[in-house]
Structure formats: structure tokens, C-alpha cells
Symmetry: C2
Subunit: 209 residues, 2 copies
């Protein structure tokens, strides 16, 4: 089994943190997105979608999309449960993870992918001949600001994102907020519950993965 | 329990088909997105994200995002398994469902949301004051065309989207392709494997849900 990974991007980081929380070691191969290594013929032969992370099983099966890779490991190594235990928890964890992906990660990606010259003509992960759309950076910035407030509201009511237990929703949110910071939309300092939660997340051993 | 639903949109349809395949009946409330009923104060009190579908449990818990709602029902009613049985199947089903959401549903939504006057200033589901970006309709059209080819390639090799078994990836793909048709990007008639699969999907009782 091999995990195609890139240490400089937020989505592969979600998988690394997930594996660290599970205590599972997987062989990784670094593919530098900034240097367009994911668009090389060599990597296209691995996964024609050309996205990172991609997991290749020993029988050659390719699983891409960060949370799909996490689902594979959740089923293979059920403890600790990171997608929720009860039906309600499972629904809430998935709901929050998806909210955070759309309202956070997607918005930060809109900013960097449509603004940074590195991504000229590849404004969508895995695509070439896909021009940047400057208005999307504005949509992304607005989206991120609203996202931080909503996350803070939730964390004022709840110890972890999806309730009383740490889950993949926290992993996704941590990567989303750090990604938002990275693209230049800082978290306002008055959002105290969010700041407190970020400190708790950063203190976990897995945050270094 | 109540499912806030809209019979005219592709995402709520995914949940209805899923429930039909499970044989589960749930009380539904229609919220007309075209008429902006999801943006009303009444619905905002139900779910501040203002998106459809939304599931409200008897204890008041709100679960939104189509596949999060499906996850709740998968855990509550495990048979038949629609998210895969083994770890590999679970990873593949989630991977395909997400590919189809991004490469199909999101692209079709880009077209209609950034082109149709109904969605002026609400180009993203649940948001107001979000102007349309005409270039996104072009990105969406190109994306859909590439998506159809990729889906056809997969269906030339595999009876169902994610392998030998019907799954939520088929439900998502059926809604994505119908949505693509609906926004005016037709499936090319030479994609025979895709056409054959569509016929098989349409023949299932659940397709009428």
C-alpha cells in the first residue's frame, strides 16, 4: 500500500493526522503539487485524476479524495472511531466535515487557486487549461470570514466540532482554518471559542503529522 | 423526524432514492428553492445554513448535506449496505461519490447557479449577496463534458459505478447526469456504457422517488 502525499498542502495533511490518531503507519511518496509533479505522466499513470492525496492498495485499487481514504482506514482500523459511533454521531460528523469542506476548505482553495500565479491555468486541482477567475478569490474571502464566525458559534456550545468527541470533523476544521490563515484571511482575535479549540488541537501529538 | 425536501432539485432527490432503496419512510416537508422558501425566516429558524435537504431528528438535532443524511440512515438501517461492505468497498464508494459530486454535481450547479436569473445574487446554495460569475458556467460545461467521458470509461469496466454492487455512488451519479442534462449539457449518444447503465438505473423502482 502506498499513500501519495504532499507535505505542503491541506488535504493530504488531513489524512496524515487521521492516520496519526489511528496509530497506523503507511508508506508515503511525496508528490510536489507546487512543482506540478501531480501533472507528470508518471503520476497520471498512477491516478488519471492527478490529485493528491491518492491511496493505492496492494491490488492496484486507487482510492482518492481525503475523506474516502480516511473511510478506508476507519473500516480497516475501527478504533478509535473518528467518524462517530452512533447513527446520530455518524450523521453529525459527516455533516460537519462536509460543511467545513465547502464553507472553509473550498473557499480557501478559491482564493489561492484563482490568485496565485503558481496556479495559472490550473485553477482546479488536477486540471490543466482551466483559467483563473479573479472574482472567485473575493467569493472565497467572504466565505472564509463567515465560516470562522459559524465555527466559533458552534465551538461556544460544544467541546469538539461535532459534539462531545474528537472526530474527523475536527481534523478537517483544523486544516481548513490553517489553510484560511495561509491564504491571508486571518481568524479575528475576538473569536475566543475558536481560539481555545485551536490551542487544544495544536496540543495533540497528531497535529505535527 | 422530518426531512426538509424539494422535489425539483437534484440533491434532495439523492436522499429520496436512498430511502426508497432502504425501504424507509420519513415525513417530508417541501421547501421550494426556486421560490426562495429556504431563505425565509421560518426555514432559517430550522437550519441557519438554509440548505435543502435538511433532516431534523426528534431531539432537534439538524443534519444537513445529502450524504450526511444518508450516513445517518445507513447506520440506523444497515441493510442493504449502500456505502459498501468491506473496507475497500467503503473507500471506493466514498471516493466515487465524491468524484461525482465534484466533477458532476458541482459543475452542473456552476452552470445553473451562475447563469439562471432565478439565482441572481445567490450563486451559492444558502447564501444571499453572492453575485453570479458568468465564467463559472463555462468551467461547469467543460467539467460536465469531461465527467461524462470518465463515467463512461468506468462503466465500460464495471457493472456499477464503484464495482460489482449498487451503491450510493450510483445514486449520486444518476442525479448528477440528470442534472447535467437539465442544465443543457447533454450526454453524447456515443457513450454506450453510460447509456446502458442509465437504462438500468431508470428501471429501478427507487428512480421514481
Amino acid at each position: 500500500m502506498k499513500l501519495y502525499d504532499f507535505s505542503g498542502a491541506p488535504n493530504p495533511r488531513r489524512v496524515r493526522i487521521f492516520l496519526a490518531e489511528k496509530g497506523v503507519d503507511v508508506e508515503t511518496v511525496q508528490v510536489n503539487i507546487f512543482e506540478k509533479e501531480n501533472l507528470s505522466p508518471e503520476f497520471e499513470a498512477v491516478n488519471p485524476r492527478r490529485i493528491i492525496p491518492s491511496l493505492v492498495l496492494d491490488d492496484g485499487t486507487v482510492i482518492d479524495e481525503s475523506l474516502a481514504i480516511c473511510r478506508y482506514f476507519e473500516a480497516a482500523f475501527p478504533e478509535p472511531a473518528l467518524f462517530g459511533a452512533t447513527a446520530k454521531e455518524q450523521g453529525l460528523v459527516e455533516s460537519w466535515a462536509r460543511r467545513i469542506e465547502q464553507d472553509g476548505i473550498t473557499q480557501a482553495a478559491y482564493v489561492i487557486r484563482n490568485e496565485n500565479p503558481r496556479f495559472e491555468d490550473r485553477a482546479v486541482a488536477g486540471l490543466t487549461d482551466c483559467p483563473q477567475i479573479p472574482e472567485l478569490t473575493e467569493r472565497g474571502r467572504k466565505g472564509l470570514s463567515a465560516f470562522y464566525v459559524r465555527l466559533n458559534d458552534q465551538l461556544a456550545k460544544s467541546q469538539y466540532i461535532a459534539g462531545d468527541n474528537y472526530s474527523v470533523a475536527d481534523i478537517t476544521a483544523m486544516c481548513a482554518v490553517d489553510f484560511g490563515d495561509f491564504v491571508g484571511v486571518e481568524v479575528p482575535s475576538h473569536l475566543a471559542a475558536l481560539a481555545n479549540w485551536r490551542e487544544r488541537m495544536a496540543a495533540r501529538e497528531s497535529s505535527k503529522a
